[in-house]
Amino acid sequence: MIKLLGYFFEIIRGSWITCRHFVVNMWFYTLKVLGIRTKRKGAVTIQYPEEKKEIAPRHRSLHRMMTREDGRPRCVACLLCMTVCPSECIYIEAAEDLDPEVQKYPRKFIIDLSRCCFCGFCVEACPEDAIRMDTGKIEVAAYSREDLIYDLDRLCG
């Protein structure tokens, strides 16, 4: 019987909590409707397509290829990123560069975003700091799989 009364007390306490949330949030909504600006808001919702959350500086977003001064990609086709990639989404075809300082350049550099898991290992592996994931673009959805294959032009641009 005492246990039962304890349950009853907890039931009332639970409805008191939800009731408090309702009243407090309705109070801030009413203030908003009346045009009074308050520091606290009635809801924690971020209404996504219109409002966007600030992305953290270390957030891993869409890849980009860094370029040299003359516009060519900084990549030397060492294949380290292709080796380290756990989802095997990078494909590189190396070619000989005429510049003896560079020696190799990527003829093809393809990232298949439909396979990429955004782990960032390629960025850590790169000795030339050629690939980075700091564009801040997170809306990379596409209607076809071909649109998700990023080649050198799209990565540099």
């Binding site: 039962l4 409805s15 949330h21 949030n25 309705m26 009635g42 809801a43 924690v44």
Partner: protein, 359 residues
């Protein structure tokens, strides 16, 4: 002729009130749950870019449900499968006819009662119709040709029948105190005063019966603390094999049951359309003040009071639905048979004793 016309107008008005409230209760449910959980809630449905707090959401839902496929599972009994949602919808929708919305209005030399069906067994009628709604559940579970829906229907029948007992027994105390089964008489009786100042409402005379009725009624609506018949997400319920508008009718039945339960709670325990200390010709406060009002204003105040109380209880039931987790099945049965029914029997005994001592 004119009597028939008056009754037709009353039926149409009551149904419009009932169905509009049902439609917007879905909106209230979404918004209230959102506010409780610090969210905003459905606000995207718009007409020509006009959102107005998502008030068009029920219409968007209705359009979606109308254009869905009318699906009947293979080997199911098609007639019964179609009949079930209509049965449960009908038996709940008809109970609104017994609810007293207000006092008698005198219009153009005629006394018009603001109630469709003024029966002297109105309370029994409402209880009987709510019990018949079980048929819809059992039929839908059985005719779907799915063992899990059959189990859901059996759970629903067991739960509803056991709580029906507590519901009926808790009202015996109320019938003893207000000696009538006519809902209008019960409301008139609650307009009187207790000790000269307290309104003679059911909640003050029968607090225990109110609690029992509240819990049993929450179980009758088959919503979250007692939603074992449905179990939307985990256990499979009785309307699993329904889609589109037929599923929508089951959902609307749920919301209509909330409104009916709110109407019953208001009528039986919170004075129906009575405003405290408001007589037929104005306010008569117990501390000696009189504030006379014209008759039409009194009627409007009373109808508004009824609506306000019903809205409050709808709000309260949505609050309950978004607060508590689901009972386990044996806990539901224990709560009904071992606690509510003995308590309601005790309530009848105590009420009878006190009544006989007072008399």
């Amino acid at each position: 002729m004119i009597d028939v016309l008056i009754i037709l107008i009353k039926i149409i008005l009551a149904l419009v009130w009932f169905l509009t409230l049902t439609l917007y209760l879905t909106w209230v449910e979404r918004k209230e749950s959102a506010v409780i959980q610090d969210r905003i809630g459905a606000n995207r449905a718009s007409i020509l870019g006009l959102r107005v707090l998502g008030l068009f959401q029920p219409f968007a839902d209705a359009i979606k449900m109308i254009f869905k496929e009318d699906f009947v599972p293979a080997f199911a009994n098609k007639f019964l499968h179609t009949l079930a949602p209509f049965l449960s919808f009908f038996f709940v929708a008809i109970t609104i006819s017994a609810m007293p919305f207000g006092d008698t209005v005198r219009l153009a030399g005629r006394d018009i009662s603001l109630q469709i069906f003024d029966a002297n067994v109105a309370l029994l009628f409402v209880l009987a119709m709510l019990s018949l709604a079980i048929y819809g559940i059992v039929l839908s579970g059985w005719s779907s040709r799915n063992r899990y829906t059959l189990l859901g229907g059996m759970r629903g029948a067991a739960q509803l029948i056991s709580y029906e007992v507590a519901l009926g027994l808790s009202l015996v105390g109320v019938i003893l105190v207000f000696p009538s089964l006519r809902l209008q008489d019960i409301v008139y009786e609650q307009g009187k005063l207790l000790f000269g100042w307290l309104p003679k409402w059911g909640i003050f005379l029968q607090p225990l019966a109110f609690l029992i009725f509240l819990f049993a009624a929450l179980a009758e609506t088959k919503r979250v603390p007692f939603d074992l018949p449905e179990g939307e997400s985990e256990i499979i319920g009785f309307f699993t094999e329904y889609g589109g508008l037929k599923w929508g009718m089951f959902m609307m039945t749920d919301f209509m049951e909330i409104i009916i339960i709110s109407c019953l709670l208001t009528t039986l325990f919170f004075g129906g359309w009575q405003v405290p200390w408001l007589g037929a010709d104005g306010f008569h406060f117990p501390w000696g003040w009189d504030w006379l009002l014209p008759r039409w204003l009194v009627i409007i105040l009373q109808v508004a009071a009824f609506n306000f109380k019903v809205f409050f209880f709808c709000w309260f039931q949505v609050l309950v639905r978004w607060t508590y987790p689901r009972f386990r099945y044996d806990q539901v049965m224990d709560f009904g048979w071992k606690l509510l029914i003995p308590l309601s029997l005790f309530n009848i005994m105590a009420t009878g004793l006190v009544m006989s001592v007072i008399r």
